[in-house]
Amino acid sequence: MTKKVEKKSSEKFKICIVEDDKMLGKYLLASFQKEEGIDVQLAQNGNDGIELIKEMKPDLVLLDVMMPIKNGFEVLEEVRQEKSLDKAKIIMLSNLSSKSDMDQAKKLKAYDFWTKVDMNTTEIVEKVKKILSK
């Protein structure tokens, strides 16, 4: 389960989590922090999320959809306008599992759309690792 993922260079993979629910954020963060090859940081609202992403230039972002002030799609749109962030794979996390949201995610070039309640954190970490090692 703790199989190391490594970048070709000795650098670590960088992951941003943008999640407003404190508990969910905490467990997600904890499960990624266990991974050695991954550098992970958490933002708890959309605005912080944008700043964090711009600053960190992550390889992958786990982005919650339903957030106050700025929702996930707004964050996604802003990030997508930044050329330097082109390589960041953005995965939308939601508990609404609405088809129209999924379609919008696709339209805004999100990498994937996951329903949180269907997965546990281990699954999320495994899936992320799989994507990163591609």
């Binding site: 969910l24 467990y27 508990n95 088809k99 999924m102």
Partner: protein, 732 residues
């Protein structure tokens, strides 16, 4: 001899001028009508022909006469072809005769060419039949003559045949064209006689008549009323003759008296005669009406026209207009109005008016008396009768009667039906100032019965139409109200859906938190826990999963029941999809030591919503495994069912469904009693959702089951796949 020549010359000149005027007038009056245009051409050709003739006989040299002969034939060559063209156009067979027309025109132009170039057409202008200059012809001329006769006969032939099948106004029009031809060509053709037979062209005088009488009738009376023109012509001619005779007597009688006295008497006599002219004319009109022209129309013809109208017309306004046209055409009255009785107001309203100075929709007081008179008698009442007879005393004093006199109404023709009096026709005086005669009364009486019946029907129809409009408005209002309510319901419905989705999101987030916290606990702290603590942890986890599932299924049901489920079909390999699903279930199947027998036929792709069909299939597969007994068999197969459908069969050797409970299986929250005891996790919603999902995909579903032996589910799916539905949400 000189006098005959003079008469010949003068009538020819008059024919020329009259033809020209008629031709000009006909084209000027309606230059859009092809018929008018062609008749104008016939007339103008005749004018050129007459001009030529006049100039020939008045020429002073032969070369001059030859020149005018050529001008004459410029007209004469085209008269028959224009008449022919006019005839076929009037009969409406122009398109059928297109080729003939082209050929005839070409031949006409060839003759025209010869006329101006060849001595074999017009050879010279020697004296013939008493004329100083006339015409001698070459052999080509005989071809032209034959062609002329052929075209005239051909025109007559078409006319005679056409007239047979026509009726009404069109028939009289064609009769008139026929008559025109007979008079015109009958007279004109005698002008061929001198050069061909050496006979004096006596018929030339008729040509004059043809233009004067018939053309006037055509233009002024729209090819309709030749009788009237004939009558007027005869009356005026007789009047003039009478006056002239008076002069003659005066002159004879005063022949020997002193010059000045004679002139004085003559002067007074002329004045008296001129003053009498009108009276004399009226007298002749009276006589003419009485003896020769007691009716200017044929009652049967007019009735046929009226019946035609009433048969083919349904709109009230149309009926008014057309009745007016027919009656006016027959009686030549100065005005026709149609007044319809309104029971509620006890008045007659002017519904149609042509010729009177009354405004439409005007109502007069005192109508009740007229109405009573009509209801009592149902006969035509003349305004003059009302003035004289005691029985009309009351009417005489009414406003409406005073108005009728003011506007010049002469006859009131009641429109009576079985139901009573509908209204009346107000007929003005005749244009000729004559009184209405017996025939007129007869016509109006007979016609009014038919008109009344048709109007009654038509007014009823109009009333129905109006009622329809009212009904339509009411329906529209009700529809608008329903629409509004529907919108409100939609809003409420949307609010409900939003509530469910928000609620489900709100529920799912803490459930997720629970799930992840439990996972964290299990991973990190399990080793430190006691056995019972671990058991409790597992139980909490199971309950949490059940809650998640329940929320998911509630969400699905709300989406399905809303009808807002999005169906997004893509080509799906159903067998492959089931195979993959089975793979996911294999760990549990192995755990229960089930023997799985799979059989998949190669089938075409089916357009289905992948999420929905997967959801449904996995439900059946999971049930078949869950409710199967350990170590038993499970069959899964996909094959072609018939030409239109494939069939999925999922058979287990499980606990089965008690027969008494089978009918309730697809109800919401229903769980079979034995299932509830053997497996506590079910929500009772899975099969309901699965059934709906299958139906959504266009498929059908049924099962066979025996308790403790097993259950087989059959699912059919049409090859044509499912319809696209633009819903908002998919299944979770």
């Amino acid at each position: 001899m000189f006098n005959t020549f003079y008469l010949f010359s003068t009538t020819t000149l008059i024919t020329c001028i009259a033809s020209f005027l008629v031709g000009f007038f006909v084209i000027y009056k309606n230059n859009h009508s092809k018929q008018n245009f062609l008749w104008g051409l016939v007339s103008l050709s005749s004018a050129i022909w007459s001009l030529g003739l006049y100039e020939i006989i008045n020429s002073s040299t032969e070369s001059q006469a030859i020149f005018w002969n050529k001008i004459l034939y410029l007209g004469a060559i085209f008269i028959p072809i224009f008449y022919y063209h006019f005839t076929v156009t009037s009969l409406g067979i122009e398109r059928k005769k297109k080729i003939n027309l082209i050929v005839y025109y070409i031949i006409s132009f060839i003759f025209l060419f010869f006329n101006f170039t060849s001595k074999d057409f017009i050879a010279g202008a020697p004296p013939v039949a008493g004329f100083k200059f006339w015409l001698s012809v070459g052999y080509l001329y005989y071809f032209y003559f034959s062609f002329f006769v052929y075209l005239v006969i051909s025109s007559f032939f078409h006319l005679a045949r056409g007239i047979k099948v026509l009726s009404g106004n069109k028939r009289s029009q064609m009769n008139l064209i026929f008559l025109t031809g007979l008079v015109g060509f009958g007279g004109g053709v005698t002008n061929f006689f001198p050069q061909i037979f050496g006979i004096y062209p006596l018929g030339n005088y008729f040509v004059f008549f043809y233009v004067l009488i018939v053309s006037y009738a055509i233009t002024v009376h729209k090819l309709m009323d030749i009788k009237l023109i004939l009558r007027a012509s005869i009356v005026y001619a007789l009047s003039l003759l009478t006056v002239a005779f008076g002069f003659y007597i005066l002159q004879k009688g005063l022949g020997q008296t002193i010059l000045s006295f004679k002139n004085g008497i003559l002067f007074v006599g002329i004045i008296v005669l001129i003053m009498c002219f009108d009276k004399i004319k009226d007298y002749y009109f009276h006589v003419a009406n009485k003896y020769f022209f007691s009716s200017l129309y044929d009652i049967n013809d007019v009735m046929i026209d009226i019946n035609d109208i009433l048969k083919t017309t349904f709109e009230v306004e149309d009926i008014y207009k057309k009745i007016n046209d027919v009656i006016e055409g027959a009686l030549h009255c100065e005005g026709i109005a149609i007044l319809i009785y309104e029971k509620r107001r006890e008045t007659y309203g002017v519904e149609y008016n042509n010729g009177f100075a009354i405004k439409k929709k005007v109502h007069f007081g005192g109508n009740k008396y007229i109405h009573d008179a009509f209801t009592a008698q149902g006969k035509i009442i003349a305004v003059s009768e009302i003035k004289e007879k005691i029985e009309f005393d009351k009417i005489r004093k009414t406003q409406v009667f005073k108005n009728l006199i003011k506007y010049g109404v002469e006859l009131l023709v009641p429109l009576n039906t079985k139901e009573g009096n509908l209204g009346f026709l107000a007929i003005g005086g005749k244009m000729s100032n004559e009184d209405y005669n017996k025939d007129d009364y007869k016509l109006l009486e007979v016609a009014s019965v038919d008109i009344a019946i048709a109007l009654e029907k038509s007014l009823l129809y109009e009333k129905t139409q109006r009622f329809n409009i009212v009904l339509k408005n009411k329906v529209n209002q009700a529809t608008a109200k329903l629409k509004f309510q529907n919108e409100e319901l939609k809003t409420l419905d949307k609010m409900k859906s939003e509530f469910i989705s928000v609620a489900s999101h709100q529920l799912r987030t803490p459930l997720t938190a629970n799930k992840w916290a439990l996972e964290f606990l299990t991973e990190n702290e399990k080793n430190k826990m006691t056995r019972s603590q671990r058991e409790s942890l597992d139980e909490i986890n199971q309950s949490n999963e059940r809650l998640i599932k329940l929320v998911n299924e509630l969400l699905n049901i709300s989406r399905i029941d809303d009808g807002r489920l999005k169906v997004d079909p893509v080509p799906v390999d159903v067998a492959k999809l089931i195979k993959e699903q089975m793979k996911e279930f294999m760990p549990i199947a192995r755990h229960k030591e089930l023997k799985v027998i799979e059989k998949y036929e190669k089938l075409p792709l089916v357009k289905l919503d992948k999420d929905i069909i997967t959801k449904a299939i996995s439900n059946f597969l999971s049930n078949a495994i869950k409710y199967n007994r350990d170590g038993k068999r499970l069959w899964v197969s996909v094959k072609k069912y018939n030409r239109k459908e494939l069939i999925i069969k999922i058979q287990d050797e499980g606990i089965g469904i008690p027969e008494s409970e089978q009918k309730n299986l697809f109800q919401k929250f229903y769980r079979a009693s034995n299932a509830a005891t053997s497996n506590t996790e079910g929500t009772g919603l899975g099969l309901y959702i699965a059934k709906k999902a299958i139906e959504q995909s266009g498929g059908t579903l049924w099962f066979e089951s025996k308790e403790n032996i097993g259950t087989t589910f059959y699912i059919t799916i049409p090859f044509k796949g499912s319809r696209r539905v633009k819903g908002e949400k998919g299944l979770v």
